[in-house]
């Protein structure tokens, strides 16, 4: 006699330890196997795209901090670049270097959080996270030195950055860069060849190359699928063409590759930082001459950068007033997460959690 079975609905989130915020997954389970999935978003919607229309261009920069709050600097940068394109503003040399330095430090920090929490989702009981927080703490200290903030920096300005470096910064960043390769080796020693990590993540949640391109994925999620696409190389913004670095890619697009690509990118970021620290002009203005109320001419522009989680873009439309007419945000993780359904179908609940974790989402960005 056949046993009567029926699917089983499970709500994962919005309050759940592994939803990285307030994501909600309505999952249909057959035993432990995922047979249906409906992602529900919007629990962190704050209407940022509408709010920015009533504030001046400079007042809008703090809103961008609150999108992907684990990589505020790159959000700042993308928005400022869009506005600078509308207003055709030339950014001083030293400011460009400062922007690159902080973007890359931000990338290291964001990738560390991503990898750490990916391992936490795997059940590694906070240990990798806490080891990575040891270095992230130093990064936070450096940011605090520069802009007095540890999470929401509001550091970049239209036409440059808000203030020059304090004296203590350069020694701190040099010490950090000198120590960093050894710490990355330490993480790899702890994680890279761990038998359980390999068993859990190799071949799990494969995002095929074609699908990745078709959905418009970007960042480590795309590169792990074997596509060598990085805006820093393909369309070098700011001064990325002056640095020598590689774009690491994975081959199969599984969870392990997404983890491993992030670890390799941390090493590349350290390389870029070393070059930037060596090349940065010692003196000079850090912000272009800007009027108190900046009124860009009528027009529209799209500024996009390679954020840690992918390609973040700001489409800014100006009507000549002090506030933007419309700002649209192109969030990388919202695009990446559209692949989730294909990736998890047929995997178990435990895999669903790690596949979701390996995409590395921040809900502030998805819901805006």
């Amino acid at each position: 006699m056949a046993i009567r079975t029926e699917p089983f609905y499970l709500n994962i989130g919005p309050q759940h330890p592994s939803t990285h915020g307030v994501f909600r997954l309505r999952v249909t389970l057959d035993g432990e196997v995922v047979v249906g999935l409906e992602p529900i978003i919007g629990y962190l919607h704050r209407g940022i795209e509408k709010l920015v229309e009533t504030r001046t261009y400079t007042q809008n920069i703090p809103f961008t901090d609150r999108l992907d709050y684990l990589s505020s600097m790159t959000n700042n940068l993308a928005y400022c670049m869009a506005v600078e394109k509308v207003g055709s503003i030339k950014v001083p040399e030293r400011a460009e270097y400062l922007r690159i330095i902080f973007s890359e430090i931000m990338r290291i920090s964001s990738h560390m959080m991503a990898v750490g929490f990916f391992l936490n989702d795997l059940g590694a009981m906070m240990t990798p996270v806490l080891y990575m927080w040891r270095e992230r703490e130093k990064i936070m200290d450096m940011f605090e030195m520069v802009c007095g903030q540890r999470l929401l920096y509001n550091y970049m300005r239209i036409g440059g950055v808000s203030q020059d470096l304090p004296e203590a910064f350069m020694p701190a960043v040099k010490k950090f860069l000198a120590e960093m390769p050894r710490y990355i080796d330490e993480y790899d020693q702890l994680l890279a060849q761990n038998e359980i990590l390999l068993a859990r993540s190799k071949g799990v949640g494969i995002l095929p190359r074609d699908t990745a391109i078709a959905i418009g994925a970007s960042g480590p999620v795309l590169r792990a699928s074997g596509v060598k696409w990085d805006i820093r190389k393909m369309d070098p913004y700011s001064i990325y063409d002056r640095f020598d670095f590689e774009v690491p890619t994975g081959d199969s697009g599984d969870c392990y590759d997404r983890y491993w690509v992030r670890m390799l990118e941390i090493r590349q970021s350290v390389r870029i930082l070393e070059q930037a620290i060596a090349q940065i002009p010692q003196k000079g203005p850090v912000c272009a001459d800007m009027p108190q109320f900046f009124r860009p001419p009528k027009g529209e522009a799209y500024g996009y950068v390679e954020a840690p989680k992918g390609n973040i873009g700001f489409y800014v439309v100006s009507d000549g007033s002090i506030a933007p007419y419309r700002v649209h945000i192109y969030p990388p993780t919202l695009i990446n997460i559209t692949a989730l359904q294909d990736m998890v179908m047929g995997w178990k609940v435990a895999d669903l959690i790690i596949i979701f974790g390996s995409i590395d989402v921040v809900l502030g960005e998805i819901d805006r």
Binding site: F8, Y9, L10, N11, H16, P17, S18, L29, G31, E32, V33, V35, L119, N120, D121, L122, G123, A124, M125, M126, T127, L130, Y131, R134, L190, N194, I196, L197, A199, R200, G203, M345, G346, W347, K348, V349, A350, D351, I353
Partner: protein, 368 residues
């Protein structure tokens, strides 16, 4: 002659009535054992938090008392003062008795563990079998808890619990046959007394299988699927609070202590050891085993449910059978103990190497 027997003789000599001669030592013994368990469990809780803190480069609790030693007491008070919440649609009766059914068998295990020379409640001639039989009852309590909570997460945990406990029972039992064969008895006292060389040296493979099996039976990392907090939040005790939760919490550490005691008795020579008093030796061995468990918890990610199953059926069970055969032949032939050490280490290395080459944990996508 155990201490209880001596106590009985003493009372008989003092002309106590028969029922009192029988009852008094038993009650005193049981109370002493319970006090011993609770004391060690409290130290265990502190030790786990402290050690885990050290593994994760943080301090761990250090506010209550010197080195935070009173933290478990503070935790206990906190838990006891919490409101006892029963979900509206829960099965009230099962929800109420489940923690008891989980906790009581754990206390019963201690009846046959010699914590010092002669300090055993009953020296059963089937001690090992008693341990195995009694410890399997807890799983019924866990399933009751998960079913009665009327919660989907805990239902998944319950299904996992049954599968996990049933699978790991077999290798655990089979690995103990080797011990019984060499000792020539099932009695715990006889097994300890026969260990002139600790059995961990005589049967390394048996020890490994038993240790891993025990980890699975006590839901410890990397087999902590029942309470996988990143997947099913807290598993079977998700709907428990207050005193009932405290029972599960005590049970978790109680069973760790029980199994550490069993491992110490069967494989590490129990109370035997030079210089120090027997009780201290027993505690040292128990804490060593518990520290290894904490070490694994701090380092390893979690297995997936199907990998957990294949680990039991494809790895542990065949190895346990082969181990049993090897030991049986060696005992039958009458191999010298030093030769047995060399042979069994060789076999253990060979088998583990062979199995890691031949088999994989497998598991993968279930095609719809």
């Amino acid at each position: 002659m155990t201490l209880l027997d001596q106590f009985q003789l003493l009372l008989k000599a003092a002309n106590w009535p028969d029922w009192a001669v029988y009852l008094t030592p038993a009650v005193v013994g049981i109370l002493l054992i319970i006090v011993f368990i609770l004391t060690v469990v409290i130290v265990f809780i502190w030790w786990e938090r402290r050690l885990l803190g050290r593994f994760q480069i943080r301090t761990g609790p250090n506010r209550c008392g010197p080195e935070g030693i009173f933290q478990p007491i503070a935790t206990a008070i906190k838990i006891l003062l919490k409101e006892d919440i029963v979900p509206e649609k829960a099965d009230k009766l099962l929800h109420f008795i489940a923690p008891v059914i989980v906790f009581v068998p754990i206390l019963l295990i201690f009846a046959v563990i010699p914590i010092s020379e002669g300090a055993i409640l009953v020296d059963l001639n089937v001690g090992i079998i008693f341990v195995i039989a009694i410890s399997s009852i807890s799983v019924i309590g866990i399933f009751m808890a998960s079913w009665a909570s009327n919660n989907k997460y805990s239902l998944i945990a319950g299904m996992r619990a049954i599968a996990q406990m049933v699978s790991y029972e077999l290798p655990v039992v089979l690995s103990l046959v080797g011990v019984a064969l060499v000792a020539g008895s099932f009695s715990m006292i006889k097994i300890v007394e026969s260990q002139t060389i600790p059995y961990i040296l005589l049967q390394p493979l048996g020890f490994m299988i038993f240790f891993l099996g025990c980890l699975a039976e006590m839901n410890r990392c990397p087999f902590d699927l029942l309470e996988a907090d990143s997947e099913i939040v807290a598993g079977y005790h998700i709907e428990y609070s207050g005193m009932k939760f405290a029972m599960f919490y005590l049970g978790e550490y109680g069973i760790a202590l029980a199994y550490a005691g069993v491992i110490a008795t069967l494989f590490l020579g129990g109370w035997q050891g030079p210089l120090l008093p027997p009780l201290i030796w027993f505690l040292i061995k128990v804490f060593m085993i518990f520290s290894v468990i904490i070490w694994m918890r701090a380092t390893l990610p979690r297995l997936r449910v199907d990998q957990l199953m294949s680990f039991a059926w494809k790895f542990l069970l065949p190895m346990a059978v082969i181990n049993m055969l090897i030991i049986a032949i060696e005992v039958l032939v009458g191999t010298m103990q030093w030769l047995m050490i060399i042979l069994n280490f060789g076999f253990a290395a060979l088998l583990i190497l062979l199995w890691s080459r031949l088999f994989t944990l497998g598991g993968g996508r279930v095609e719809a």
